[in-house]
């Protein structure tokens, strides 16, 4: 972690870490059978555990009049099942709701780690996690596409019959690259980039704020810039809550849209 204690408060107006990697890479804590566990892996396991615990304790009773906590969990399930599953995929959405729900909750918890006190690190800002999640989605909609439509899935994507012949090769090329290559890439990079940007901004602003305010006895009035950085950091903090929820929603929604486009493949 940075908290750039060697920050040059006299000449600079904001504290930048020497290398961005310092913010995202943690030393290995222990090793089990060749798997190196650092803070990121432990947080990942913690996120999975939290999701399982939330779902287990929220839904195990199924009371007619739910408690407040159960109500929240039920509305989360209802949100994914109706708002994402049924609205996007349609009638045969029930099969995919468990996947979508676990995806949504895992990403949501992982994103919210960014603003959780004492954790302050979004696990989704390590590319491995969004990349793996988007590969799972890719795998699902590829298998669905080929099993429901056969080899026509590939041919009709590259040579769409509904488009005028003159443009068909161009549209086909764009569709081919977009469906088979850009979809998983952008799905992962969108989440990753948003979380990296948020984490960088929060660390930079809040750390600079604290360091400059602490240095007021040393550098005098110039340290007051720290109040501005800290205030801006608090504002970004609120904004990051929105970003965390929105990115979890968008990842799940796009997964559902891609799955739907493989099931109802007619163009």
């Amino acid at each position: 972690m940075i908290l750039a204690t060697e920050c040059d408060v006299v000449n600079e107006v904001i504290c930048a870490p020497a290398s961005v990697n310092e913010l995202f890479e943690f030393p290995t804590i222990f090793t089990i059978g060749g798997l190196e566990f650092s803070r990121t892996e432990l947080l990942m396991l913690l996120a999975a555990f939290i999701v399982v615990a939330l779902l287990f304790f929220g839904l195990r009773n199924g009371r007619l009049v739910p408690t407040k906590f159960e109500l929240v969990m039920e509305s989360a399930v209802g949100f994914v099942r109706d708002g994402i599953g049924r609205d996007v995929i349609g009638t045969d959405s029930t099969k995919f709701v468990p996947y979508l729900l676990s995806l949504f909750l895992f990403i949501l918890v992982g994103n919210l780690f960014e603003i959780t006190p004492f954790i302050n690190f979004p696990i989704t800002s390590r590319m491995a996690i969004p990349a793996f999640l988007s590969l799972v989605t890719y795998w699902i909609f590829m298998i669905l596409g080929f099993s429901r439509n056969g080899f026509r899935y590939l041919i009709d994507t590259a040579w769409p019959k509904t488009v005028p012949v003159g443009l068909r090769w161009l549209v086909g090329l764009i569709e081919l690259v977009s469906v088979f290559f850009l979809r998983p890439l952008t799905l992962a990079v969108r989440l990753f980039a948003n979380m990296v940007a948020g984490h960088l901004m929060l660390t930079l602003l809040l750390a600079s704020g604290v360091i400059f305010v602490a240095a007021i006895p040393e550098i005098g009035l110039k340290g007051a810039v720290g109040f501005f950085w800290f205030g801006l950091g608090l504002f970004m903090f609120l904004l990051e809550i929105l970003v965390a929820v929105l990115q979890a929603y968008i990842f799940t929604l796009l997964s559902a849209i891609y799955i739907e486009s493989s099931i109802h493949f007619e163009h």
């Binding site: 952008t186 969108r190 929604l253 849209i257």
Partner: protein
């Protein structure tokens, strides 16, 4: 001299990403603005419109995200 050229490469990658973000920025604005207009006209279609809006934003944003990836490749290489 070598060091200077490397510094310029990194700065060029930054400028390139900035330029690459202009188009998707405008595009997402158009998509979202028109989606709002559509939702205001037909609130009962809001769910469908929202889904389509996110699909449109995803396609438009792809360009900015490719720029983001290329920025990392360019500034690392």
């Amino acid at each position: 001299m070598e060091g200077n050229i490397e510094a310029i490469t990194g700065a060029l990658a930054l400028i390139g990403y900035g330029l690459g973000a202009i188009g998707p920025g405008i595009g997402i604005g158009i998509v979202a603005g028109n989606a709002i207009t559509a939702m205001a006209r037909q609130p009962e279609m809001a769910g469908t419109i929202r889904t389509t809006m996110f699909l449109g934003i995803a396609l438009t944003e792809a360009l900015a995200l490719i720029g983001f990836v290329l920025f990392f490749i360019a500034s690392a290489g």
